[in-house]
Amino acid sequence: MQLLRKFRGANNEGSLALILLVVVLGMSLLNPVFFSVNTAFSILRAATVPMILALAVLLVIISGGIDVSFPVVAIGSAYTAVTICLKTGFDPGLPAIFGMAIVIGGLLGLVNGFVIAKFRLPTLIVTLGTQGIFFGAMLVYVGTRYYPTLPDSMAALSAVNVVELTTSAGRAYLHVLVLLSIAIALIIWAVLKYTMFGRSLYAIGGDAEGARRAGIRVVRTQLWIYVLVGMVAAIGGVAYVVMSRSANPQDLVGGELDIIAAVVLGGASIFGGRGSVLGTVLGVLLIQVINNSLLLVGVPSAWLRAAVGLLLILGVGAQAVSARRSAQRIHTVDTGEAVRLELEKVS
């Protein structure tokens, strides 16, 4: 029993892993083509950008907030960086492009964080507003053009693969940016687990007033959360642009709820205080695996959204029902041992 509970994990990571395993095994039995390095690599590739964005949102959700502006921040900072390079005709190299995007993303996040922390407004409403502002500002002041070719350094990165294999099913490539998403996952995991900042996120998400009483500087921490989210989202944006080998300012926008769904599926609580990197990674992977499976089985990918919604209901519904059950069990009454034993006999 103890072992089982431990396996399930604090945020149901175990159950999620189990579902993932079942889906993978089932698919492999149904269609042996599925069980191949090619499939694995392409799933990882497809999961890269959603993973980075989901990890960004995870930070906000743990702290008890919600952010719907991150896709705009992501594409906005990446597109701005690309535009600057192309307009000036100067390619400063990858680190500088990433750096530029991260700075822009951080600044946009700072705007979110400032308004939220300073005026204590509901995070959903504020980011809804800034989403519109950022999106409009990008299109008005940066541009609306679609760039089919990227600066050379980025274009070069698009073609870099860490692993290239020839398998029976053809050549399989593992894109280099997959490593980036893994690195970000590891960093955020470490930040959440081994820094006071990370623990403060959980504390604030659990009880903001209690966190204040415990001496945590809630306002400052909140400000940093949104800056960090902006920075991580910007990395995700650049990764997206690199992997799609073009820059379109209208991309990513509108997908915020899908990403949030993946994070919640990964066991994060929408009320804050709960959530893990492992769960989020599993949540994103599960969605991508299902997506891939549907294609292989011949079900139109249109079913994906419905499937994700259904999984969400099952996952969250199970939690809600079990929470209700355990709440019913708690009685704070001191009936005395004798009475209790007798009652057990009766019932």
């Binding site: 604090a10 687990k193 081994y194 820094t195 006071m196 900042f197 990370g198 623990r199 403060s200 959980y202 504390a203 998400g205 659990g206 009880d207 007033e209 209690g210 966190a211 009483r213 415990a214 001496g215 945590i216 609580s269 205080g273 709960r274 009685h331 704070t332 009454v333 001191d334 009936t335 005395g336 009475v339 209790r340 007798e342 009652l343 057990e344 009766v346 019932s347």
Partner: protein
Amino acid sequence: MSSTTAPATQLADATGPAPVLSARHISKRFGGVQALDDVSLDLIPGEVHCLAGENGCGKSTLIKMISGAERPDSGEIEVDGIVHTRMNTTSAIQSGIQVIYQDFSLFGNLTVAENIVLTSAVAAKRKLYRVKDAREKAQAIVDELQLDLDLNADVENLSVADRQLTAICRALVSDARVIIMDEPTTALTHSEVEHLFTVVERLRARGVALVFVSHKLQEVLAISQRLTIMRSGRVVISGPSADFDRRSIARHMTGSDVEESRRVPDFDQTATPALEVRGLTLPGAFRDVSFQVGKGEILGVTGLLGSGRTELAESVFGVLPAKSGTIAIDGKPVRVRNIQDAVAAGIGYVPEDRLTQGLFLEKPIADNIIAASFNEHRNRWKLLDRKRIWGTITHFFDQLKIHAPHPNRAVRTLSGGNAQRVVLAKWLATDPKVLILNGPTVGVDVGSKAQILDLLRIQAERGMAVVIISDDVNELVACCHRVLVVAHGQITHELVADQVTEDSIQESMAV
């Protein structure tokens, strides 16, 4: 009044070792209310100091001054010879002062170990969090106090008692030398209180000065070495606990010997009872409880916290539907599966926790009054009849003497007594046959208390059956025809007519 303060303080100075903390001549006004008036308090290492007084006497405010949450208008606090004219939370924690609030300020989503260590780590301005260090530190404290706490459990899965122990451990990690506990026993069962007291003894042995804020007499006497009683923002008396008995504490707390005198209206004992409960059982809370309340009768129900008395009331009202047993209203059996059933059957319930369960604080008084009787205020088009609603509201404003500038004001702006009248009005508007009140005068000032009891007598005279669940023995004696004493989920005593006296109730509760 303050003249009694001075000798008491001197007494403390003269007999004990040097105090670790002394608060001197603290005064504080909130708006027009003098919350604290020249209050002084000494805390001595290894002693439990009880701070007693009724709700609103200023004890919580005093604690806020000591913990730095509020600043006094005048006065000073001396810790280890350093005089602070004003504390802030950080300096208080650094001086070793820890307050354990009623809600414990714990993080339900974090583990016990994390909760124990987090505050001190924040105070130390750490950047990194070392999981292993944290565990070891927490384990050390838990071992020292010989507690049985699962360090890896999430706090939200703990019992209230274990949460409290976690909060105590957290205070000790920060090297607390003064631990102030705000109503520490309120939500604990009897055996849990006893366990807490053994932990308190260990803390004393460590040389910690403890403050218990409480309004429960028995506990106060059992655990403390020193006692300070407050009333209306002043210290009424302070001295060794041995010098007090239950009666004298009560006298100092209520501030008068003008206790409510017993006055019970007549009622027809032969009529069919308004409420009849037979063999009601809710596993884990109470079992096989039977009683009846006549039309016009006021029945008192008392018992220690955790005896099952609140659960019993909530069962009759459908909050926690009973597993077996029957409930009859006016002789007709009714099924109470939920609150709507109870309301439909003519049962009203004024909950103990008025602010969260009884009132819509941000909503107007008017909305609160008709919150349970919308369906009775409709016209033939099934729309709400404003005229009738207005009639109801003005009627209850008059009848219950609700003092408010306008019924459109939010309930949040009302005093405790007026807020309670609004809850009362809400139920009277449904014209219930049975009205159950849990702690009807908790947090209500003395004047309002008498008036509320009068209102209940009037309702009884009109034929309503009234059930009062209360800790306040004086209140039960004042207006109840009969008193039931509940212990361990069963009715152990029934006191009728002349048997209803303070002594007899106390006695039957003690057994």
